[in-house]
């Protein structure tokens, strides 16, 4: 079944002089999803955001946002974004900024003022509404940037590293805000905090060297249904016994971390919980002591597999 897409990028190339920032990038973001964009610095995430917002033009390929080209007038009020490193006028209050931007989205003055108050409350900045942007801290400026992205509840919101520079409480609140929009708005988030992305996103795409290397639902990417891991305390290591008795694609043992990984083909008759039961039975019978147990692997582990430490 084909899903309606909020973003559809096909074979997109973008160069900045000698730097080939995007090399045939592909991205399909379903409407209503919370989508993570993951990749190392320089992978092309911000460039990809810039293309979706219409800040940048592609050298080749197709960029479609909400069913058409990223034209500002077509997307007026439908697309919100937190652009990376964009600054606000220092001598204007944050309320004035937000009212101005809301009015540019087509709102009346009264509606824009109400909307500015609402989004400032979302990011816990209502008390600082009359403060000049130049007098705000880095984290507060970031929160104003997030607030303007939510003006008018646009259909699609792109957040480029929204929690970078935020204190833990406001980062937590922002994650809750993003999660609360699931199903109503499409939100694409890039972040280096992979635990955060794993916690709030439904789907993700990995980028590396200007290309999307892998994309899909988080459950699949983290192999949550097709992999388990068990950490053993010092003591018996019945790995060979396990290999002989538990059917699996692969059983690997890392003696340093004392972690056992099993990859298997899930089926309706044998889901992850059944495999966990089998493995635990065998290990306990062999006298092994279990420290930890989990399904799948974290996004961080996936990321590190794709980008191994040099």
């Amino acid at each position: 079944m084909s899903r309606e897409l909020a973003i559809d990028l096909r074979s997109v190339h973008k160069r900045f002089g000698p730097v080939h920032a995007l090399r045939g990038a592909e991205l399909r973001v379903p409407r209503g999803s919370i989508f993570a964009l993951i990749g190392p610095n320089g992978a092309g995430k911000t460039t990809l955001f810039g293309l979706c917002c219409g800040f940048l033009g592609p050298d080749a390929g197709v960029v479609e946002v909400l069913g058409g080209p990223p034209d500002a007038l077509r997307l007026k009020g439908r697309l919100g974004a937190l652009p990376q490193d964009a600054m606000l006028g220092r001598d204007i209050t944050i309320r004035e900024h937000l009212v101005f931007l809301a009015r540019l989205q087509g709102m009346t003055l009264a509606r824009a003022q109400t909307e500015a108050t609402r989004v400032l409350a979302l990011v816990d900045l209502a008390d600082l509404a009359e403060r000049r942007a130049g007098a705000l801290s880095h984290g507060q400026v970031k929160r104003v940037g997030v607030a303007q992205a939510f003006l008018g509840e646009p259909e699609l919101i792109l957040l480029d590293e929204p929690t970078a520079g935020l204190d833990p409480r406001h980062a937590h609140d922002l994650r809750a805000l993003i999660r609360s929009r699931r199903g109503n708005q499409t939100i694409v988030v890039s972040s280096h905090n992979l635990q955060e992305l794993e916690a709030i996103c439904d789907e993700a795409a990995f980028m590396e060297k200007g290309q999307t290397t892998e994309a899909g639902v988080i459950e699949t990417l983290t192999a949550r249904d097709a992999e388990i891991h068990v950490q053993l305390a010092p003591g018996p290591e019945p790995i060979d016994q396990l290999r002989a008795r538990v059917p699996a694609h692969a059983i690997t043992w890392d003696p340093n971390s004392r972690t056992l990984r099993l990859r298997f083909q899930p089926s309706p008759e044998r889901v992850a919980e059944d495999v966990i039961a089998e493995v635990l039975r065998e290990l306990l019978a062999a006298g092994a002591r279990i420290s930890a147990l989990g399904k799948g692997r974290s996004l961080e582990q996936r990321y590190l597999e794709q980008n191994p430490p040099t």
């Binding site: 900045f16 810039g50 917002c53 219409g54 800040f55 940048l56 033009g57 500002a72 007038l73 997307l75 007026k76 009020g77 697309l79 919100g80 974004a81 652009p83 490193d85 964009a86 600054m87 606000l88 006028g89 220092r90 001598d91 204007i92 004035e96 900024h97 101005f100 931007l101 009015r103 540019l104 989205q105 087509g106 303007q148």
Partner: protein
């Protein structure tokens, strides 16, 4: 129709926001201070010269009792003044005659302010677009409106600022004239200044067009400032070129500035159209680059 209305609405919003920002920052203050300083200096010099001349004439012992000598002195003064006006009018006698109807103090102020205005504009408006590109502030607006509306709004905001500043520049002329010239016609001078105001603003639009071109071509404020000054210098040179290069001068606001004072309505309309056209043309030329550039 609604698209045009939406565009005009966006232009107005951006102009209003830009003007407010200019007033809050040092940009407006610097422009006002520079302009008022020049206006005050020009008026002060004029007042000093006039006061000394009036004192000198009054000191001539037998002038009052000798009508012929007084008439001869007046002829010499008027003839010299007309020659001066004819020189500034480029030999255009009707224009020189028309300029002679303005109070001399107003002409001195207009001449000096028109001479300095382009460089003031270059120094205060160079980052009109380039500054927002540099700080990426433009990205917040670019999500919500077209690039064309953005440029037009910024241009309109700066034009309103320049109009306000040139209006304020009239004050020192009136104040100094009233304080130091015994035979100063306050109302007449005010009305004459008021009539030169649109001329100054129209001329300023021509210069602003050149600066807007520079600001759209460059991404950094430093480069934009250098380009703005360089382009203005180039179009100023255009206005000085002899035949057969005179047509290049048509591309220069300097070429048209005296036409804005011309008594013949056709000449005046041509100059008005040229200044507006140059503003639009230079802005559009920059927009050809800006509409495709990465923000």
């Amino acid at each position: 129709m609604s698209m045009t209305r939406g565009l005009l609405r966006d232009v107005g919003l951006i102009a209003g926001f830009d003007l407010r920002e200019s007033l809050r920052t040092r940009r407006a203050l610097v422009l006002v201070l520079l302009y008022v300083l020049i206006a005050t200096s020009a008026s002060g010099i004029y007042v000093r010269i006039m006061a000394e001349m009036q004192e000198g004439i009054a000191a001539l012992p037998d002038m009052a009792g000798d009508p012929e000598a007084a008439a001869a002195m007046s002829m010499v003064q008027d003839g010299g003044y007309r020659m001066l006006l004819l020189f500034f009018a480029g030999g255009d006698a009707p224009l020189a005659d028309h300029l002679a109807t303005y109070p001399p103090m107003v002409l001195v102020f207009a001449w000096i302010s028109l001479a300095f205005l382009p460089w003031f504009i270059a120094l205060t408006s160079y980052d009109l677009i380039a500054g927002d590109l540099h700080l990426r502030t433009i990205r917040y607006a670019a999500l919500r409106t077209s690039r064309g509306a953005y440029v037009l709004g910024k241009l309109l905001g700066q034009a309103a600022l320049v109009a306000g500043v040139t209006g304020l520049g009239m004050l020192p002329v009136l104040v100094l004239g009233a304080l130091y010239l015994p035979q100063f016609d306050l109302v007449g001078t005010f009305l004459a200044l008021l009539s030169t105001w649109p001329v100054t603003v129209l001329c300023a639009l021509g210069y602003l067009g050149v600066v807007t071109l520079a600001s759209q071509l460059c991404k950094g404020p430093g480069a934009a400032r250098a380009t703005a000054v360089g382009l203005l210098f180039a179009v100023w040179i255009f206005s000085l070129l002899p035949a057969p290069y005179t047509p290049l001068g048509w591309l220069s606001p300097w070429h048209w500035k005296f036409g804005l004072f011309h008594p013949a309505i056709g000449e005046r309309l041509l100059a008005i159209g040229a200044c507006l056209g140059l503003c639009a043309g230079y802005t559009a030329l920059g927009y050809l680059r800006f509409r495709r550039r990465d923000l």
